[in-house]
């Protein structure tokens, strides 16, 4: 495996199947540059290079290129309005890339390379490189949700895909999923609390993710929230959280509208593309009966064909980059709404218990039971966490949409630039011919 971002989907076709080891075992996922493709087969389980154990002396090329790759991903301008966006304080960088198909007797699946670079002491080593599959990301998310219930956990791309409808191994699908996983991990890594979660640590560094045994490092809050029983009804949501709820409702509505508009545009553009192809063909066919006009007509046909290619690219981009990100944000909003609900739940529980306790206190002077205090702590903790997460979410949302919409504008600009170039070159050709004719006439 060569260093440097491998963008294409390298299926097991690159290597002979027999050479492929289980990705989470001792595969040569080293950072050293070297001949591509060949995997050191056999039981290198102890020695040398196994998952999670980077090379002792990383060659400069690999380390810096990894770093560069990670840096480029974080290339956002620091905006004074964005408190959370100072890249200088960031000390944990993660990237998801290099999808590979793995074929085993039981199943076929995709793994992604997860690369980490960090200066945090919570990590044993400064760099890690592991392979993970979607299941592993899902595991991480569930663990995070369980252990940090008061925080907003970023969403994952859709888990289930209808096998008949979507090709789970197509470059398109895998590419889109990978970008979403990358986003997910980056968001977690950027979070001041979540990024210190031990499950994340394990995810990023462990050779083998032993998912069955849970790490027994749940926080107190986590434990108690896990045991929240239902049945408490919230009387009044505090205004700041009401505002959040309303915002989320309206925002998700607007995003839904934007999604529909984008889909409609995509449809119209596809149909336009179909007609445009016919259009180019008509010019081509016309050349059959012409003499002098052959060249200009062919020129027009060729320019139209270039425009078709550019339009095709634009459509592809909309489908693969724009729409999935938009949809993923809608999932994000749902996550946020759920967290708000959980917060409401814990407040309801607190208020319920408090009321019950107060009544009992009045009756027989029993002291305030500790659960009530715990609940109070919980609620306050929740509220604080949520507010902090909200601010950070808003800020990230700004960046994300700046990028998304800016990207859409960029793609459209590219499209028009390509078309313009095609037509301009045609004019040059035709006008050259004209001056040619004129000079030949005067001769």
């Amino acid at each position: 495996m060569s260093v440097g971002a491998q963008r294409g989907l390298a299926s097991s076709g690159q290597k002979h199947i027999a050479e492929i080891l289980h990705p989470l075992s001792a595969a040569d996922e080293s950072l050293s540059p070297g001949p591509d493709v060949t995997v050191t087969a056999g039981g290198d389980k102890e020695a040398g290079l196994s998952n999670g154990t980077p090379v002792d002396t990383p060659s400069p090329a690999s380390a810096s290129s990894l770093f560069n790759r990670l840096q480029l991903d974080d290339d956002i301008e620091s905006d004074p309005r964005d408190y959370y966006d100072s890249t200088e304080t960031r000390d944990l960088f993660v990237t998801v890339d290099d999808p590979k198909k793995h074929v085993s007797t039981m199943e076929t699946y995709i793994t992604y390379r997860v690369s980490t670079k960090t200066t945090r002491i919570e990590f044993d080593l400064p760099e890690y490189c592991v392979r993970r599959r979607y299941q592993d990301f899902d595991w991480l998310r569930i663990k995070l949700e369980d252990s940090q219930p008061t925080h907003l956990i970023p969403p994952l791309p859709e888990k289930f895909v209808m096998k008949g409808v979507v090709d789970r191994f197509s470059e398109e699908f895998v590419g889109t999923r990978m970008k979403a996983l990358d986003k997910f991990l980056k968001r977690v890594a950027d979070h001041p609390v979540l990024s210190f979660n031990p499950h994340l640590n394990a995810f990023l560094s462990a050779k083998d993710l032993n998912k069955r045994q849970g790490l027994a490092l749940l926080t107190k809050v986590g434990e108690s929230v896990k045991h929240v029983t239902g049945g408490y009804k919230l009387r009044a949501r505090p205004p700041e959280f009401c505002a959040m709820g309303e915002y989320l409702d309206t925002f998700s509505q607007k995003l839904g509208t934007i999604d529909r508009i984008a889909q409609r545009i995509l449809k119209e553009q596809s149909e336009h593309l179909t007609e445009l192809r016919d259009y180019g063909a008509v010019y081509s066919n016309w050349t059959g009966s012409e003499g002098e006009l052959q060249r200009p007509l062919e020129g027009v046909a060729s320019s139209v064909s270039t425009c078709c290619g550019a339009m095709d690219e634009l459509c592809e981009n909309m489908g693969q980059d724009f729409l999935p990100v938009l949809r993923e944000y809608m999932l994000y909003i749902e996550s946020m709404k759920n967290v708000l609900k959980k917060r409401d739940q814990s407040q309801a529980e607190y208020e319920g218990r408090l009321e019950a306790a107060l009544l009992r206190k009045q009756e027989d002077r029993t002291p305030m039971p500790p659960e009530v205090e715990r609940c109070q702590d919980k609620v306050e903790c929740f509220n604080a966490d949520l507010k902090a997460d909200w601010e950070r979410w808003q800020s990230n949302k700004r960046q994300d949409f700046k990028q998304l919409l800016g990207g859409m504008a960029d793609k459209n600009i590219n499209y028009y630039e390509k078309c313009q170039a095609a037509w301009e070159s045609l004019i040059n050709v035709l006008q050259d011919k004209q001056t040619e004719d004129q000079t030949s006439e005067t001769d």
Binding site: R81, Y247, T250, F251, K254, T257, I258, I261, R264, I265, E268, Q269, E271, H272, E275, L276, D278, Y279, V282, Y283, N285, W286, G288, S289, G291, E292, L293, P296, L297, G299, V300, S303, R398, F401, K402, L405, G406, A409, D410, N412, I413, Y415, Y416, E417, C419, Q420, W423, E424, L426, I427, L430, Q431
Partner: protein
């Protein structure tokens, strides 16, 4: 007058009964597929009708002949040559059964109109059209250049019609793409209402989306000029066809005159030598010689001599007419070809310029929008 017309129709019943597909070699020796129509004429009494097959181009020639021969008469029109205004098909398929059926009706109508006209119904050529099996306008030596020109004009017509049709569809779709972007304007505006820092950027970006959506109207309006330039040449092809047809007519008249003369000369020979031959020339009434007196023969011979001289003169004149027509026509056709090449090339260049202008506008708007997004 009206009575006379209708009385002809009372005696004559005309039907364009069927249509059939044929393949054959045309005058430039190229394989082609075309449709022929069954023309049935019933003269009552004798119950058995005259039937013969005619194709559309023969109807055209007949009409051209009538136009030239009776310039003071309003000659009935023919149905469409090509399926011009078909709403749902890409190409004008002249072999499409629905189209052929409608044309059949139109051709029948044409013949009925001609035959109900007091003057036209008496024309000899019309009569031959209805009764003479052979193609009355066939030529022994067609001018290949004109045949090729007719073919070219047909091809140009097809190409331009197709182009105009598809261009209209492309324009339709493009309109849709631009206009849907206008919806972004509205939703960005609504969204900006719930945003703090993002609000201004979103709002202004929305305005640019509105501008983008509105820009398509002018763009397409300008493109109509291009379409008009193409349409002009579409109509030109009809004019070219018309010249070809007139040439065919002149050629036909020339050949008829030559034939006429040849048969008269043969008659003279037979009269002079007393030999009887079997006539098999078409369009000629054959005379069987009976026993005649010397005087009768001599007077007939004299009349024939006169007729032959007149015929030779007519043939000379017709020849000269034909040659002049060909020469002047061909000069004009060359001029037309050069003009067409120039004009269409200019049209294509101006089309390319329009496209460039559209791209520049697009870049401008999206760049503006991008700036707004960056300020969010």
């Amino acid at each position: 007058m009206v009575e006379k017309g209708t009385s002809v129709l009372k005696k004559l019943e005309i039907n364009v009964a069927e249509a059939e597909k044929r393949t054959g070699k045309n005058t430039v020796n190229m394989q082609e597929t075309y449709t022929v129509y069954l023309v049935e004429t019933r003269v009552s009494p004798p119950p058995t009708p005259d039937t013969l097959w005619r194709r559309y181009s023969e109807f055209e020639l007949l009409r051209t002949y009538l136009l030239v021969t009776y310039p003071y008469i309003i000659i009935p029109p023919l149905p469409e040559k090509r399926a011009e205004f078909v709403w749902h098909k890409l190409s004008a398929d002249n072999l499409d059964p629905d189209f052929v059926e409608r044309r059949r009706v139109g051709l029948e109508n044409f013949l009925l109109r001609v035959m109900s006209h007091p003057v036209l119904c008496k024309d000899k050529i019309v009569f031959l059209f209805l009764t003479e099996i052979e193609n009355i306008f066939s030529f022994k030596s067609p001018d290949k250049r004109f045949t090729a020109l007719k073919q070219y004009s047909d091809e140009l017509n097809t190409a331009i019609s197709q182009l105009l049709r598809v261009r209209a569809r492309v324009a339709d779709r493009l309109y849709g793409v631009y206009k849907v972007h206008g919806n972004y304007g509205r939703v960005f505006s609504e969204w900006s209402a719930i945003e703090k820092e993002m609000g201004d950027g979103l709002q202004s970006a929305g305005h640019h989306m509105d501008t983008y959506a509105a820009s398509i109207d002018d763009i397409l309006e300008e493109e109509e000029h291009y379409a008009d330039q193409l349409k002009e040449y579409l109509f030109y092809t009809e004019a070219v066809r018309s010249v070809c047809r007139k040439h065919e007519l002149i050629q036909y008249e020339l050949e008829v005159a030559a034939q006429d003369l040849a048969s008269k000369k043969q008659q003279r020979e037979e009269l002079a030598t007393g030999m009887v031959r079997v006539f098999s020339l078409k369009g000629m009434t054959s005379k069987l010689f009976g026993q005649e007196s010397q005087e009768q023969r001599e007077s007939r011979l004299a009349a024939l001599e006169q007729s032959i001289q007149e015929g030779e003169q007519a043939l000379k004149e017709k020849n000269a007419e034909c040659q002049e027509f060909v020469q002047t026509a061909w000069e004009d056709i060359e001029r037309f070809k050069e003009q067409k090449d120039r004009d269409l090339r200019e049209a294509l260049i101006s089309y390319a310029i329009m496209q460039i202008s559209m791209c520049k506008k697009g870049i401008q708007v999206w760049s503006n929008a991008k700036e707004c997004f960056n300020k969010m």
